[in-house]
């Protein structure tokens, strides 16, 4: 079983990112459970979303406390919250950032990978310059780095699940997949 926690800010599409990833995983016949933080969320405030993946039915309905990997959708969160809480030693932290992994203080304890999902989202005019929607780009990188699904499963999940600018979202995911 693989457990992943997403850190983002309300309005960035973090919950949608976990849902799209769940769809892509299910397309390949695996079992998946994705859920947002249990409660209420506000635009701009830190939010988390979770996903469990397995090749058999998932019976554990409790929350995820010790994820294998963490995805940081908004790089400012690295300073705002402890994104490593419960993260298993040696786990991967994937950060949306234009900086290299050595810029972040986790090297040595965890594997750090960065992807400039913001630049990709801006290039494909997803969201606005001030508030780009980076979720499809970040998921494109996540499936490559963690080896979760094929790219075509993700692009199909995006086409099925995102009604606004599906082509541009697919291009963003493909570009992030290539870059990662």
């Amino acid at each position: 079983m693989i457990e992943i926690r997403f850190h983002g800010r309300g309005g960035q599409g973090t919950v949608v990112a976990s849902k799209i990833l769940a769809d892509a995983i299910a397309k390949e016949g695996n079992w998946v459970q994705a859920y947002p933080e249990f409660g209420v969320e506000r635009r701009g405030s830190p939010v988390v979303a979770f996903i469990r993946i397995d090749d058999k039915q998932i019976f554990d309905k409790s929350r995820i406390y010790t994820p294998d990997h963490v995805v940081v959708v908004d790089p400012t969160l690295v300073e705002a919250v402890d994104v490593t809480v419960g993260l298993k030693p040696g786990g991967t932290i994937i950060i949306n950032s234009d900086r290299g992994p050595d810029h972040f203080p986790f090297e040595g304890r965890f594997k750090v990978r960065t992807i400039d999902a913001t630049a990709i989202a801006v290039k494909h005019k997803l969201g606005s310059m001030a508030a780009p929607i980076v979720n499809t780009a970040i998921v494109g990188a996540v499936i490559k780095i963690l080896g979760l699904t094929r790219l075509d499963s993700l692009t199909q999940a995006i086409r099925d699940g995102i009604s606004i600018k599906p082509d541009d979202n697919v291009k963003a995911a493909e570009e992030a997949f290539e870059q990662a």
Partner: protein, 384 residues
């Protein structure tokens, strides 16, 4: 077709596939998406139902009763305070024998104001005469709605399909959404023997004197007694078409078990993981998940418990002044019968506090260290 959907939408799909004809509901967190999707389905024509916007849950149930008495298949959904506001109408629906199916998202009763899961909302409606089905996965939610309509309409008794707040309502899972043509084969249109129609005028719900009332209630109880066999039969029929079925209890590794968890809802799935881990450490554990609370499956529970050495009932609810409600019911079913094991009662997870695999291991360690219950309630994970 396999889809990744949230538990709330599993309720909506269940109502759509059952071809509900009247949807009357009032939105309440954490049930809102049930009503949102159903209203979209009614608006875009994918569900040919009358969608009634109402000003309260009391009116939602009242209009479902009106629809049902007029011969329509009626569906609604609610949660917690909304269910409590329906209370009077719940008695009316069951007493009037209107086979409405309702989704209820288990949410704690206020105060303190809470939107998180426990079972006190639905269990407070224990004596209204509704059947109650507790689900542990989104797959069970969609399947149970469809089967609940069939059982309800055969018995003319309404049914609640119950799912935990957030752990199911807002959690996305892989669901094999049943094929509409097969559902149509399984669930014929609702055709009550009598209904409210100008062509055949009748009065419903009139004054009933003491010379008749008791017989109406006797019949309700007698029909409830038919429900366990009908639920199992309906489940087997469903299984032939879909490969899954509604059943009274889900007995996981109970045959050779010495120690049993007795559970319900999503905690009843997490308990399976604890059972697997306990078995790896040499404890012959099992899990008896109660899926149907009304009618209470006394015979099935007795049949399984008589084979074990000890059982621990884990309740996500409390009848204040008595204890865990499933615990009280299980014990009452064993009273006076020789050869039954000691049964201990635990309360966990109120107000959405998580029930984890470790919670179950704590229960097991406590229960296995005792020959009998030395207190009525053992609290798990409470700050005393």
């Amino acid at each position: 077709m396999k889809k990744v959907i949230m538990g709330n939408h599993a309720l909506s799909y269940g109502a759509m596939l059952s071809r509900a004809q009247v949807i009357s509901a009032y939105p309440i967190t954490p049930q809102t998406q049930v009503v949102e999707l159903l209203s979209e389905m009614c608006a875009d024509g994918s569900l040919a139902a009358e969608f009634i916007k109402v000003e309260s849950e009391h009116s939602a149930m009242a209009s479902c009763i009106g629809a049902s008495v007029a011969g329509a298949r009626a569906f609604t959904a609610t949660s917690s305070q909304g269910l409590a506001l329906m209370h009077e109408m719940l008695h009316w629906a069951a007493g009037g024998r209107h086979p409405i199916v309702m989704g209820n998202v288990n949410r704690s009763m206020a105060p303190g104001w809470s939107i998180w899961a426990d079972q006190n909302d639905s269990l407070s409606q224990r004596d209204t005469g509704w059947m109650q089905f507790y689900c542990a996965s989104n797959q069970e939610v969609v399947d149970t709605v469809i089967q609940a309509f069939k059982v309800s309409e055969r018995l003319m008794i309404p049914a609640m399909v119950i799912l935990d707040a957030f752990a199911l309502s807002h959690t996305y899972e892989v669901v094999d959404v049943p094929d509409q043509a097969l559902v149509d084969k399984f669930l014929p249109p609702f055709k009550p023997a009598i209904k409210l129609t100008p062509a055949d005028p009748r009065a419903f719900g009139g004054l009933t004197g003491s010379e008749h009332y008791m017989e109406l209630r006797y019949k309700l109880q007698k029909d409830m007694e038919k429900a366990p066999a009908l639920i199992e039969e309906t489940g087997r029929e469903y299984e032939k078409l879909f490969g899954r079925r509604l059943e009274l209890v889900d007995a996981y590794l109970c045959d050779d078990a010495e120690f049993l968890f007795v559970t319900s809802g999503t905690a009843g799935y997490t308990a399976r993981v604890a059972v697997d881990e306990l078995r790896k450490s040499g404890v012959k554990a099992g899990n008896l998940r109660i899926k149907v609370f009304r009618p209470f499956p006394f015979a099935e529970i007795r049949g399984i418990l008589k084979k074990v050495k000890k059982a621990a009932v884990v309740d996500r609810n409390c009848s204040y002044g008595a204890g865990g409600i499933f615990y009280q019911e299980v014990k009452s079913g064993l009273y006076g019968i020789a050869g039954m094991p000691p049964v201990l009662g635990y309360i966990a997870g109120l107000g959405g506090r998580d029930i984890t695999v470790d919670s179950f291991k704590e229960v097991a360690a406590h229960a296995m260290a005792r020959d009998h219950a030395d207190e009525e309630i053992v609290w798990i994970g409470v700050k005393k």
